[in-house]
Symmetry: D2
Subunit: 341 residues, 4 copies
């Protein structure tokens, strides 16, 4: 941490700050420039918790040098993490594809979707049972019944199931049914829910919020990891910008940036980013080419009948075609995806 | 709702859509332009829930004509709502000032703050007990003990107390202690929490999220109101933009826009918007001049000792000075604020 | 400037950087923390121009300590600047109000507008002659003829005239006719135009761009000032964000922030920020209450007949009413505005 | 265009608007819903230029149905355009790679860069001679001398040259030397410059601005095309968002969206988007996989010596490696790139 002093600051102010820091067991390095004095603070910054240095007389600003997350960062663990979900590995050489409808709507629908995506090579079946919708008057999901249907589809296909959890109450309730919890974009800083999911030790797909910087996202992941749950997979799903041609703006750079900052795997959700089925193939290919560890894609056997987000769901044949391209791009990058297993 | 057909759409496609709409009990108005055909849909759009018209052959896009929120809108209730919190009225002629420290830290601190703000004219004491912080390693609040200290300060001063609730579990627990619940920016679309607060019927200060449009904000308020709780006061606290000179960008236009769209009162939080004490007075005066129904301001008896957000808390003398200005601006707008009661 | 070294950097890398800096005549301060070494650079950073320190082995990042603008900053000139436009002073105790139609449309229109705003107390007549419009098919202004009509209105009323210049060619052409040049938001980083206006020494109203940070804005002002033209007045007119309820998002915080960073006066354009006439009064009052040195407002004798931006122009009676409020708020802040002179 | 009437509007207001529209030769379609009346306007909307319908009594809002650009849109020309630059075709089956240093710095530097990129397969040499820099104190380019050096490099290698033009004055001056003009992000709405480049009929690479929507971008392209110059290639280079981990946020979705809206080719500039050399390869692969028609990449023989944007320039070996990957991804998409010609 660096303390930048005001041009008009005086020696006694610098001394007072130094004394304060030293009394807290911190080291001090004073550097007098031609126009500004800066004070380098050495040692564990936790000692400063609750000491508002920026309010001390003569101080212009504080410049943090190190990131505030620890467990999620590369300094803590330089090599990439591989998350194991009942034997399916996320973040290794093999790419992970999660697919399925926006909402679980009926036994027939989820079973048809599961069989189709399994055939193209997906390892996970996604399906929303608890749906956070912008308006309370929109379809809110089948809730517990939806989870039950996912479980049946899993038994029939062997796919792992992933579904969103929107309330602390649901964690314990579905811990034995759902293979991987999803934390949605709207709950990225619902810290109570993050802590609860952390305590569950269950693998979690953790979506970025629409206005969350990567630094804040990794700090939020820290809430989960700090409870002892290191099974976190990040998911970029678009951020909110001024552009309205797409539902969100896919921040494709999140892939290489997260790879540089963190050891956690990162996958991409092109469906919520684009908001339109016609752009999904393009964004999916781009994500894999950028180096993502996988994709989560909305696939509906009959989008025309979908009860939510109809416009952004692709059909099984479109998904199959996409998986074929993905397996070829994977190869160029030295990775693998078993298309049409 | 209007359906815009593609330039290359054909008559049979238009007919198919018309038939579909009519079968659902909706009226249809076809308007053929020189380059596009548009179809106006008449009647209750709920009939269309789960029918993805935008996927029907020939359709280019759907243009909604009416907002999706109802109870929060002016069509539902044209005259301004006045929210009564134990006799203190928010949204009427009188302005409401809420003030107090970011976090409740000790009995002495909260009591000193309460006495000071009461003296300047504030009607509400704010103080965080459950603090959602970006990093899990930052001070997280005194929790239940903090609420207890707020209660004591209330008994000593007669101020109403407002505090943030971050979990569904807390609603019932503190329903008799806290006079007004606050829903923070990070929970603006934590719909489970909104529903729970809705069911409590307790007055709620509902902050806008950093990436929430006004339309989404009113839709989120609808989650609370749809449970029968109409005691909602909106709070603008800055949105996230590319500008980094302030913590958030105060969207001052939210004041006149919300007044045009909704009957709910709106107050402003300049502290979280600015993030720096030196800008609070300027933004507070601006908010009242813009027509806000009040302010919520962070005031700490000794910001140098604050355990959270030290840089944005002002001192009691600064607050007093501000209240004096507020009372004068109020008068110009035909409103009232009893400075120095 | 501070150089932050990577955790894995070695002593020889630190030495190499030190030597490089010293060979350029710069001082060096090395501070070894528990996890990172940082190097403080002392002296004139111009010596580093063209030396990409961030690419030297072992370097993690560069943290600039001082802003890159000089002439526009408070370090260069701590006391507020007052810009004199033929005797009308901007930035002093008196507020400056500029008003007039979006576009000059006819002699009758501009004359009617000029007389009306003069009566309410405005000191400047604005009117676009060269209009930068999003689409080439929109009305582009009366060009030279428009400037001529402004001149006639000036002669009849004594108002100073301000009009936008969109091309380097126009600077010399209209230097004797226009009292104050306006640089529009779209040209905020059209550096050739800025330099040309700089060389003209003419007072200039310099609008912020829709995606320009305050730091970039002051750096752009530096292009004008670096040519010897210190007669710069800044104008906040809204930035681009995700919110669509207003045309732009008025960044009201720009007023106190610019006052903290720069000695240049700042006025506000609520018309382009709001994009809707109904919000202008609210935002104008807010701007003055925030501490702005003035306003530039679109006023049209008959908005129903306007050839551009009809929706955001207010009428002379609305403007008059607004000026009355402004003069009262001015008083509270210890400033002056002669309403109804 | 659709006119939405207020809920409280009355029949006489609807009639007045209808009469007005009909008097202008426009057709009218009135559709009365349960809560709102909407009026469809049929015919050429140019007749409405300068008639502020939104201000007529009873009108709530105007909803445009069609985009305002014409020549740049797919309705005007459904099949993709191929831009021919002295025989090199942009937008066809073959991908176009433009590369070279941020700034032309010396004969040796530009020649070394040219030879290297030619060897890897690039068809265009880029190099800035007129550099728009945030601060006036940064290196501003070699100007005319830089263009001369580009010309020499062209003669030696046969590469086409592309360079940025920042002023109307420069268009005529360099029309015979530069093969393709570049309009930079800061000048995306410098309409005078766009018109001048339009009149030149020269091929132009037209970068998106940091706060420009795709709709505005296509409207700006219309300024060039409306002068008779259809040789426009679009270039996505990142937009400004709240995220600071990258210099800009690459809007990868611009690739499929522009392909859906326009017939113009689109290439991607990963260098300015990322701002860091380490992310260039990832974003380049992603862009080609998304369907871009090419790339423009900053390559410097020795980034350590670069006079501008050192951090984002890659080396010739890194570029070569990237070109190899590009040629393989091209194949998967049914396109071509001759790596290592």
């Amino acid at each position: 941490m660096i303390i930048v002093m005001k041009p008009e600051s005086v020696e006694s102010q610098i001394q007072e700050i130094s004394k304060k820091l030293q009394s807290l067991g911190l080291g001090v390095h004073i550097s007098k420039g031609t126009q500004r004095t800066i004070i380098g603070v050495i040692g564990d910054k936790k000692a400063l918790c609750g000491i508002p240095i920026e309010l001390m007389p003569g101080v212009e600003k504080i410049v943090p040098i190190m990131e505030s997350y620890k467990l999620a960062g590369k300094t803590f663990k330089p090599e990439p993490s591989i998350i194991d979900v009942n034997g399916v590995k996320i973040g290794g050489k093999e790419l992970t594809i999660m697919a399925g409808p926006c909402s679980v709507e009926s036994r027939a629908q989820i079973m048809e979707a599961a069989l189709a995506i399994k055939k193209s090579g997906a390892q996970f079946l996604r399906g929303g049972a608890f749906k956070p919708r912008t308006s309370p008057y929109s379809f809110q999901g089948l809730e517990g019944e939806g989870i039950q249907l996912l479980k049946e589809a899993k038994e029939a296909t062997g796919l792992q199931i992933i579904s969103e959890i929107t309330s602390e109450y649901l964690v314990e309730k579905f811990i034995d049914t759902i293979d991987m919890f999803q934390i949605g974009a709207r709950n990225v800083q619902n810290f109570q829910l993050l802590r609860e999911v952390g305590r569950s030790k269950k693998p979690v797909l953790f979506k970025r919020g629409p206005a969350t910087t990567m630094d804040e996202w990794l700090n939020a992941a820290e809430y989960i990891m700090n409870e002892g749950n290191y099974n976190v997979v990040l998911c970029e799903r678009g951020i909110r910008t001024f552009e309205t041609a797409t539902r969100n703006t896919l921040d494709i750079s999140a892939v290489p940036v997260i790879k540089a900052l963190s050891h956690l795997p990162i996958i991409v959700d092109p469906s919520h980013a684009a908001g339109k089925a016609q752009y999904i193939a393009s964004l999916s290919r781009a994500s894999i080419a950028a180096g993502a560890d996988g994709l989560i894609i909305e696939v509906h056997p009959n989008p025309m009948q979908a009860l939510s987000d109809a416009a952004q769901q692709i059909t099984p044949p479109q998904f199959d075609c996409l998986c074929k391209d993905i397996s070829k791009i994977a190869e160029i990058l030295g990775r693998e995806f078993q298309y049409g297993s």
